[in-house]
Subunit: 419 residues, 2 copies
Amino acid sequence: MSTDELPRSGRPRVIVVGAGFAGLAAVRELRDADVDVLLLDRDPFNTFQPLLYQVATGGLNPGDITYSLRAFAARFPHARFRRATVTGVDTAQRRVRLDSGVEVGYDYLILCCGVVANYFGIPGAEENAWTIYSRRSAIAVRDRVLSNLESVAQGREGAVEPVVVVVGGGATGVEMAGALAELRNSGLPLAYPELDPRRARVVLVEMADTLLAPFHPTLRSYAARALRERGVDLRLGTAVRQVRPDSVVLSDGECLPSAVTVWATGVRACDQVAMWGLRQGPGGRIQVEADMRVVGQPDVFAVGDVAARGDDPLPQLAQPAIQGGRHAARQVRRLARGEPTEPFSYRDKGIMATIGRSDAVVQLPGRVRMRGFVAWVAWLGLHVLALMSNRNRLATMANLAVRYLTWKRTANVIVGDPP
Amino acid sequence: MSTDELPRSGRPRVIVVGAGFAGLAAVRELRDADVDVLLLDRDPFNTFQPLLYQVATGGLNPGDITYSLRAFAARFPHARFRRATVTGVDTAQRRVRLDSGVEVGYDYLILCCGVVANYFGIPGAEENAWTIYSRRSAIAVRDRVLSNLESVAQGREGAVEPVVVVVGGGATGVEMAGALAELRNSGLPLAYPELDPRRARVVLVEMADTLLAPFHPTLRSYAARALRERGVDLRLGTAVRQVRPDSVVLSDGECLPSAVTVWATGVRACDQVAMWGLRQGPGGRIQVEADMRVVGQPDVFAVGDVAARGDDPLPQLAQPAIQGGRHAARQVRRLARGEPTEPFSYRDKGIMATIGRSDAVVQLPGRVRMRGFVAWVAWLGLHVLALMSNRNRLATMANLAVRYLTWKRTANVIVGDPP
């Protein structure tokens, strides 16, 4: 064990663990505060998760939606980034231990390290299914999908039928299935003329009787209809019993062939959280008070997907994470000035899911509901605006525009590295 | 062994092996010809090799300079693409054997499968050095450079000093060293404030007494001066004796530490060419006649880097490859019409190398020489024009523009996947 050699300025030090929506919002909010900020993440980049399904289907480059955390930290005079995983939190001594063995002291700690896929103990799921929750796994899905199409097109022996099974009918599953259907309908016939397009299938399996549970019933059924029209084989009210390397066994006994199984059923707090000795609730989420401080910890905040308030667990979306990160940063400033904390009140800005090119569902507060092209324009505008705060904006917009304008002619504009 | 199941139209079949500059030019030239074209490549994408050094230094996304060959083939009604390596050529039966075991018949064969790095038998070079001749290896270099910087910045035990040694002072080595120097000078101090920038070094080792042998002496010395001004440690007249995992031993006995060694000393024909039973010359290049037909083979052409004419080996650059591919395609059309072939005459369009942002050397036919900003604008214009023929144009230009306009503020806009 070595201790931390970071320069000490005498200003309070705030450690932000996790550089997702919540972590970046917290660092931004502390921009003018008289504190030193140390941002930690296991990856050297921030990932714009809402567009990972585009990476997984070859529509965007990984670099279009990831952003160097060192470049981010360089924008703030008192912020530093360090690539690290937090292996321990000593709240008595106010120190965190990093995977390198180094210990770093803090005055205030903001935990927002996000979540990982929840496999709910389904046999074979963790081993054989792929998630699209990280840049690395989205790239792996893309390369597997493309590599499977190549093998099938060449008639290679042992090639699994080109079927992608998406498990989970939430926003992630719907967006992934929609993008895959588009790839199949528009790209496949051009790029793989030797392949009978009817062989390529997209199956979406959802345990509940509807897709997109948090949405209004009219939008749920609209999404189901829109996916079916695009040729997605929807299996509602169906659970997954087992995932095998090249098939998925359903609760009705059917064994679906599956070249690539995408797991999108939900999330849970990542494993290291359990080592921190903080109070955890359902899904491993860290229990917080009304002001987003961890139960019993006056200097530690938890926000974003990893945190849950007893009475009101907050949805695991970008908005609660951004608002939570900002709130935690504001409370740190208040505490540093000797002021009491304020409770966090989440301002619902609505939810949205895209189904495909020119099609989406959007539900805003006040019973405003949109679907189809109008909803898609709203979805696109919001995502482009969000990306604008990163430096990737020009290239990403250009890629999206190229894809939109030339899709029919070009199919896979962006290619992967199939093994 | 299975035989080929591709549909036969009764039209002559042309097989193009390798989808680099020469292969794509040949397929384009055959657009209106009454032939079926089968394009083969070991990768499912074409790579715009002249910008691979940008990928290797994190300036461009891999997807910005690679282009789906299936999307390419879809633009031509009589062209198909198949991902394959050619393991054998049976010129008597006019068939090629693919790595899948399939054999495919041809009427005309155009070989343009390019080259691989030549290690000249230097001990340890193949095992411990990295090339930037393919998308995969450029990504590996990028991820190693970034990962080394992370380790050093964190003071991890066993981290090798952040020194990159580039071996070879041709255009590839000069461009790579220039881009690395820029990364060090502009990006490093911002992105890695905890790292003393003097520790990060770029060394360029060249056996000859000058850089850029094919250029006029004034441009050679200009390039050397420009690199030195950017802080590149130039070792001219120095050979590499051995490459170790974290150092390079020079001919003067010095052992340079090296976190990443980039091998850019030259190329030779790839290994499978030796299995084809065709006549090979220096560097394994296939010997061709004046009309670019392989010596003794009336139906087989070889063009691009892999081909050499006895008297005039042609430079291994994009232009001879493009012109050669186009020429071979024209000769196929002539042969199919029963006309005799024509000799290939290479039209020199000049050579260029970029040294860094706003700096390059350009040498055009007719003693036209440019250097500095003017040369860089010419370089940029030409590369943007060349990329325009692909679909990646918008995104790549946007990425280049972002990088140019915001470099000082953002450092590594695009990040890799360090292990």
